[in-house]
Amino acid sequence: MSTPTTPLWEVFIRSRTGLAHKHVGSLHAADATLAVQAARDLYTRRGEGNSVWVVPSSAITASDPNDKGMMFDPADSKVYRHPTFYEVPDEVGHM
């Protein structure tokens, strides 16, 4: 009774405000055309967006959660990458 598995797709929607496409969820579809149609039905029933991307989930390479510290902690100590680190006298005005 088991059915052959239908490929999984990740769905990205650009909201009407023109922001970047944002991941909204995933769905199963036999091919890309059907995935776009299913994404329309599943994720934009209330005007959530005006553009859809679908990507085969198998095409995504993700960072390893075990490497989280090694990957992302170094940024924590680099305060000099932020504008507030630098002192500019008030007299100079907005910069």
């Binding site: 059915t3 052959p4 239908t6 969820g25 995933s26 036999a30 091919d31 059907l34 029933r45 959660p65």
Partner: protein
């Protein structure tokens, strides 16, 4: 929703696990961090979530049946459009939830097969029949109302994909409840016969809705782990009381009475106290002996079987297209 009333036993841990990893996991949960699919998690946490989320998904899907029963007989185009939109939303909820369960390492096909084989549970409420149009009003108002009570705390569930699915679902539920209440209000303010119909629907749905929250706290001995893991935020009884307190005044506004002679407002606690729930009925329905259990399963199986050719055709077409573009790439 539904998940909660069914997911009574939390799996015991079988093998001794990495105690250090377990402590780190619990610390993250305690700090209100979200656990994501690739993160380390206790095997029992994973199993509990797979079962709860898939039961929840099945409930959304089976839940389309009682309401679908009235789509062709809705009394106006406005009501029909709303009902179709609602049933379509419920399908969407099922899809979001299956996808969340799949992140834990099960396949959609496995989950669907379990439901069709009668091995998986879904909410008891969907095993009751929709006899009149007023039942559509009562379902939206009461069943979706109870679902909302349950789903709002799940938006803060510790498992990221489940909590994100719940946030989407909750955004859509409010329309479901309001359209149901509007139907009840129209009937309650209509002819004498319409008012009788509304009262009859309320009489039949009230107690099954209270059962949706699951067994009393004293009897649900295994919710400790779910609470510790921050899957469950409120007890069954606390949520049930919240629902009763919110719903009784809404029924009174409709000019309808609740089918509970013991119902009374306690001035001291500011809560509505209600009568004894018939837990034997609940157990019977869960065991497969409700009024519509067999019908619901038969309808799901028929829908699945008659969709077989569509899935096969789509797969065959996709395979053909892949072969074509491979050949074209080879020729170029």
């Amino acid at each position: 929703m539904y998940a909660q009333s069914l997911n009574q036993q939390v799996e015991g841990t079988t093998a001794p696990e990495d105690a250090e990893a377990a402590a780190r996991f619990q610390a993250r949960v305690d700090a209100e961090e979200r656990i994501e699919p690739n993160d380390w998690m206790p095997a029992a946490y994973r199993r509990t979530l797979v079962r709860q989320i898939s039961q929840h998904a099945h409930s959304e899907i089976v839940g389309m049946l009682p309401e679908g029963n009235w789509i062709t007989r809705a009394p106006s185009l406005r009501r029909k459009a709303a009902l179709i939109a609602k049933v379509q939303d419920e399908c969407g909820h099922g899809m979001y939830l299956y996808a969340a369960a799949e992140t834990l390492g099960v396949t959609r096909e496995q989950l669907v097969d379990e439901l069709l084989a009668g091995k998986a549970k879904y909410s008891s409420i969907f095993n009751y029949p929709t006899l009149t149009w007023a039942d559509i009003g009562a379902i939206g108002w009461l069943v979706d109302g109870a679902a909302i009570m349950n789903q709002i705390p799940l938006c803060r569930c510790s498992f990221g994909p489940y909590s994100r699915a719940m946030i989407r679902v909750c955004k859509e539920e409010s329309f479901h409840q309001r359209q149901g209440y509007e139907i009840m209000l129209t009937l309650a303010r209509g002819t004498a016969a319409q008012k009788v119909m509304a009262q009859d629907a309320l009489n039949r749905w009230w107690w099954p809705c209270l059962m949706m929250f699951g067994p009393p706290d004293a009897q649900s001995q295994h919710s400790d782990a779910s609470t510790r893991w921050k899957i469950k935020r409120f007890s069954n009884d606390a949520l049930r009381q919240k629902f009763v307190d919110a719903t009784v005044p809404q029924a009174h506004f409709l000019g309808l009475t609740l089918p509970d002679p013991a119902l009374r407002f306690n001035e001291a606690t500011s809560h509505w106290e209600f009568g004894e729930i018939d837990w034997t009925e609940f157990k019977q329905v869960l065991a497969g002996n409700g009024p519509c259990n067999r019908d619901r399963m038969a309808a799901r199986r028929a829908a699945h079987t008659s969709g077989d050719w569509v899935r096969e055709a789509a797969q065959a077409y996709a395979a053909k297209e892949r072969a074509r573009s491979a050949a074209a790439a080879g020729a170029a």
